[in-house]
């Protein structure tokens, strides 16, 4: 639904004439007149007010009873009093009642010092207690989950956490148990509250009832400083505030930015900061010792010399890959060094995904065709294509849910793997992995009414009726359509996607358009900075096209390329075809890497490893999904011998005979801004704390013009037929990341390989949930635990990518894969029914 218009009304509060937007609640309206009304349960982010805490009672002339300001919308000519004796008496009463059962253990409470209950008691309370009776007691502290501690004695039952679980994240886990004064917050049967967004309730809690276990007793509010920056763990790039004490990040809080994250963080963003201070962090340069063959600590000068020599030797046979937390500036400098000093065209940041024609990229990035993230919340229809936001770009999951729940957005989900958003969708469609091109082409056919829909649907293994319904929804459900599509769709479907957008006339319409979900925290920014094989800075054509990542791997393996330079990239773990990359890394003459953590590849093959900055130590810019240029700011000092990355690249460049002319971080930013036409004139000051969308600046007109007219989409290949085997679909779980594995708090969530099977296939194979299976393609095998999922289409198995062990990338080759799934181990298949719980062999037996 389009955004509602805002009209201002005038009302009087405490004798002051105040004008506020019509329909806002009095609590918010009062702020326009600098009047503060205390609240506990009111939180606009959680949806409709509940009026439970009664803290916000005010007197409205003409209404005999006191009204809750959190649920009374402002009206023209309303006369409100917040300072009368009656109101004060009511506020005093509510505070007294709230403290009746509150333990007042502020000295040992983590919230003490930043606690709304303390502040409001101080500001609006009576200052004494008449309560002499014993208070309510609960066992404490208890673990609500491994991440969250709950202290029920401190709880004031404001309902915020329960409402978050029920109405925002929609995991429906938190509930209120019992009744009256013995009410308490909990989960069904005391199960741990584990959900991707559970950490938000810590920040929502207005008292110290829900506290972070990772932050527990680490610091008091007067010991710490806040440092605003941006989280780079996924492309959502949520705005965060680091809590810093003694040069250590102790906590991550949301820094509410309506244009980016809407004030929510996922648990990875909230707790993976622990990786910054991990024991395994590399804090000094490592160089491979020629005698022992081991990586040994070295001085910077020596490491730089060795790396420069290796790169010099590689020369034009050097390839560079960037990913992860690489900033635009670092990527820009990297491609300058590789292209200008080494005269090699081989740079890439596309995570091993197919190269997309530059003209097509320019067309997809056209400023008029870009939707903004808030558009997801106000569009008529949102189509989620080929991505599950919860895994790929977590905080958008909540944004889409919010749109559906509060603004009546019609959601359509078209993915190969069942999505967490399916229950909220008006329409959900499945296509076979490998049938992406055929599916988007079929969508084009359905939307434009031309082309052979049934043949295309057949090729994609999709339901033509559902596709027609989708086309009807997109065409007739309102003009504002936002398509959230994933870079993982590959290159082939993109012309058809562009044609769909053209047919829906999304170009140039406010509130409608496309949003691409890139792979990697700064995927979009790196491409715009020129870190791709077929594109220079500002999506310009490079002097000479280079090889994309996949071909780089093949060339390294065959010896056509000799040297690999990695900037925060881990192709062996993250890119498809793990075994090819293993060969490439082993075969390379030299491997230079900038990394924060060591992994097996680096340990075995790296020539030089430079200690890289973590995202809390960096300065630079990154670009969000919808083109919002955001700024990373230094929150803590760099540990050990770690140096700024732009500086390391500049030092290397100097040794390679090219002076980059970069002496400070901002100088690198200026170079980038000068090189990218559509960033022209952008300054760090302009970006500020909230970021700025380059499409909304004047310089956006300098974006490269795409070739006009409809694009030829090409004949799609049909998705492979299972024919007894199973199709392999892969996804990257939110928890499959090294920073999760090294964060003590998050370790328990680290993704383990599991094979998602349809009940039909599970029965055919004679396996049940938790059984071990081997998934084989050619001579590669991956072991996984079975997870039978009701709405997985029969004939397909889904495996996780980028897990620490048994990653599905092992099986992924160039073409879509068929795999065979077998129960693992010697025991005969167990029939599904009649399997008593105790009769199942234990994990140890299966593993043996």
């Amino acid at each position: 639904m389009p955004r509602p218009e805002r009209r201002f009304v005038t009302f009087s509060i405490d004798g002051r004439e105040v004008s506020a937007p019509e329909g806002v609640m009095l609590v918010d309206g009062a702020k326009y007149g600098d009047v503060e009304i205390p609240v506990f349960c009111y939180e606009p982010k959680l949806g409709a007010p509940v009026g439970a805490c009664r803290m916000c009672l005010v007197e409205v002339e003409g209404i005999p009873k006191l009204q809750t300001a959190c649920s009374t919308p402002v009206k023209d000519g309303m006369v409100v009093h917040t300072q009368t004796d009656r109101v004060r008496e009511a506020q005093n009463s509510v505070i007294e009642f709230l403290l009746v059962n509150h333990p007042l253990d502020c000295p040992v409470c983590d919230k003490g010092g930043e606690c709304p209950l303390q502040d409001i008691t101080f500001g609006w309370g009576r200052g004494i207690s008449r309560m002499v009776e014993p208070k309510r007691h609960f066992k404490k502290p208890l673990e609500l989950s491994p991440l969250i501690a709950i202290d029920r004695e401190r709880c004031i039952l404001c309902y915020r956490c329960v409402r978050f679980s029920q109405e925002v994240s929609e995991d429906y886990q938190l509930v209120l148990n019992e009744r009256g004064a013995s009410t308490y917050v909990g989960t069904f049967d005391g199960h741990p509250y584990v959900a991707p967004f559970s950490g938000n309730i810590i920040e929502l809690c207005p008292v110290g009832a829900l506290t972070s276990r990772a932050y527990r007793f680490r610091a008091r509010p007067w010991d710490i400083e806040g440092a605003g920056s941006v989280c780079t763990h996924c492309p959502a790039q949520c705005n965060v505030e680091f809590t810093v004490r003694d040069e250590r990040v102790l906590r991550v809080l949301a820094r509410d930015n309506e244009g980016v994250d809407d004030g929510w963080l996922c648990d990875k963003g909230r707790f993976a900061y622990q990786a910054i201070h991990s024991e395994e962090r590399i804090t000094e340069p490592l160089v491979r010792d020629s005698e022992s063959g081991e990586l040994v600590p070295a001085t910077w000068e020596y490491a730089l010399d060795v790396a420069a020599a290796a790169l010099q030797a590689g020369g034009s046979k050097t390839a560079a890959l960037a990913g992860g937390t690489t900033t635009n500036e670092e990527g820009f400098l990297l491609q300058r060094v590789v292209r200008e000093a080494l005269k090699s065209p081989h740079v890439d940041s596309r995570a091993g995904l197919p190269q997309v024609d530059l003209g097509l990229q320019q067309a997809l990035a056209a400023p008029g065709l870009q939707a903004t993230i808030p558009d997801l919340e106000f569009a008529h229809t949102v189509l989620v294509l080929g991505t599950d936001p919860i895994d790929d770009v977590a905080s958008l999951d909540l944004r889409i849910r919010k749109g559906v729940r509060r603004n009546g957005v019609k959601l359509a989900v078209a993915t190969s793997r069942p999505s967490a958003l399916d229950p909220n969708a008006k329409l959900w469609l499945r296509y076979a992995p490998g049938g992406e091109h055929a599916f988007v082409a079929a969508l084009e056919a359905a939307v434009t009414g031309s082309g052979d829909l049934s043949a295309l649907c057949d090729a994609a293994d999709a339901d033509p009726k559902a596709l027609e319904a989708l086309a009807a929804l997109l065409k007739d459900g309102g003009e504002d359509v936002v398509i959230l599509w994933s870079q993982r769709l590959g290159a082939a479907p993109l012309p058809a996607l562009l044609n769909v957008a053209a047919a829906l006339r999304l170009e140039g319409r406010d509130g409608a358009g496309l949003i691409e979900v890139p792979v990697g925290g700064n995927g979009r920014g790196l491409r715009e900075a020129g870190v791709q094989s077929n594109g220079g800075p500002g999506l310009s054509a490079p002097k000479a096209p280079g090889k994309p990542a996949r071909e780089i791997a093949a060339a390294l393996a065959s010896g056509d390329l000799s040297t690999l330079w990695l900037l925060h990239a881990d192709p062996v773990r993250d890119y498809a075809d793990r075994r090819l990359w293993e060969r490439a890394a082993a075969n390379a003459d030299a491997l230079v890497a900038h990394a924060t953590l060591l992994n097996d590849t680096l340990r075995e093959h790296a020539t030089v490893v430079f200690p890289a900055e973590s995202y809390a130590e960096k300065e630079g810019t990154i670009v969000n999904l919808d083109g919002r240029v955001q700024r990373l700011r230094v929150a803590i000092g760099r540990p050990g011998a770690v140096r700024a990355e732009w500086q390391v690249i500049a030092d290397l460049s100097k040794r390679l005979g090219l002076d980059l002319g970069v002496l400070t971080g901002p100088m690198a930013t200026r170079q980038l801004v000068e090189a990218v036409p559509f960033y022209a004139g952008l300054t760090l000051k302009e970006i500020g704390g909230r970021g700025v969308r380059w499409q909304e600046r004047e310089a956006a007109s300098a974006a490269p013009a795409a070739p006009a007219g409809p694009v030829e989409s090409g004949e799609p290949l049909p998705a492979p037929r299972p024919n007894g085997a199973l199709r392999l679909g892969t996804y990257r779980p939110i928890w499959a990341a090294p920073e999760v594995e090294v964060s003590p708090a998050l370790k328990f969530l680290a993704a383990k390989q599991q094979a998602e099977l349809s009940p039909v296939d599970a029965e055919r194979l004679g396996v049940d949930n938790g059984a071990k299976v081997s998934v084989t393609a050619g001579d590669a095998t991956v072991l996984a635990k079975v997870f039978v999922r009701g709405n997985v289409p029969a004939g397909t198995v889904f495996l996780a990518e980028a897990t620490a062990e048994q990653s599905a990338t092992e099986l992924l080759g160039e073409a879509p894969q068929l795999v065979s799934v077998e129960p693992y181990g010697q025991r005969p298949p167990v029939p599904l029914e009649g399997l008593a719980r105790g009769a199942r062999p234990s994990d140890d037996e299966v593993n043996s």
Binding site: D105, C106, P107, V108, G112, G113, P141, R216, F217, R218, A219, R220, W222, D223
Partner: protein
Amino acid sequence: MAWNPGEDVVAVQRAPKPGGAGGAYRAFGETLRGLKTTFGRMLERPVVYQYPEEKVPVYPRFRGRHKLHKFADTGLEKCVGCSLCAAACPADCIRVVAAENTPEHRVSAGERYAAVYEINLSRCIFCGYCEVACPFDAITMGHDYEMSDYNRTDLIFTKEMLLAEPLERTPLRTEDE
């Protein structure tokens, strides 16, 4: 024309002119009056304390070096590491890092305890605000004022030093003193 100072004129009082009987008195009489005090003290015992052999007793509320306390019965530390003393300290000389008690390793009576408790006594101004701020009476100001040292870092007192019973070096003033 000369500037008229008006009411700003300050009358200067000058000493009486020398000479005469008044002058003689001022020269000798006043001197003798002063000497009376001098000679009067000659018969008294000296008032100088032979520090450090001899120490000035202090009043009970004298604010000297801090002490941390334990419960007499359980032996647990009273300090729960709440850091309120650090918040109250105007000289910013207290540093507290808290940690959680476990059943196996219980240090204080509450949920948390002070893993690190340091007072930089070279910065401390002995105002006693930490004592006032403490919700558990875990820190009090002792009577010890002898804290000079050869090294600045030695003046950072750790939790162990503050918990240890200080040497009784400072006499306390008795009631009638």
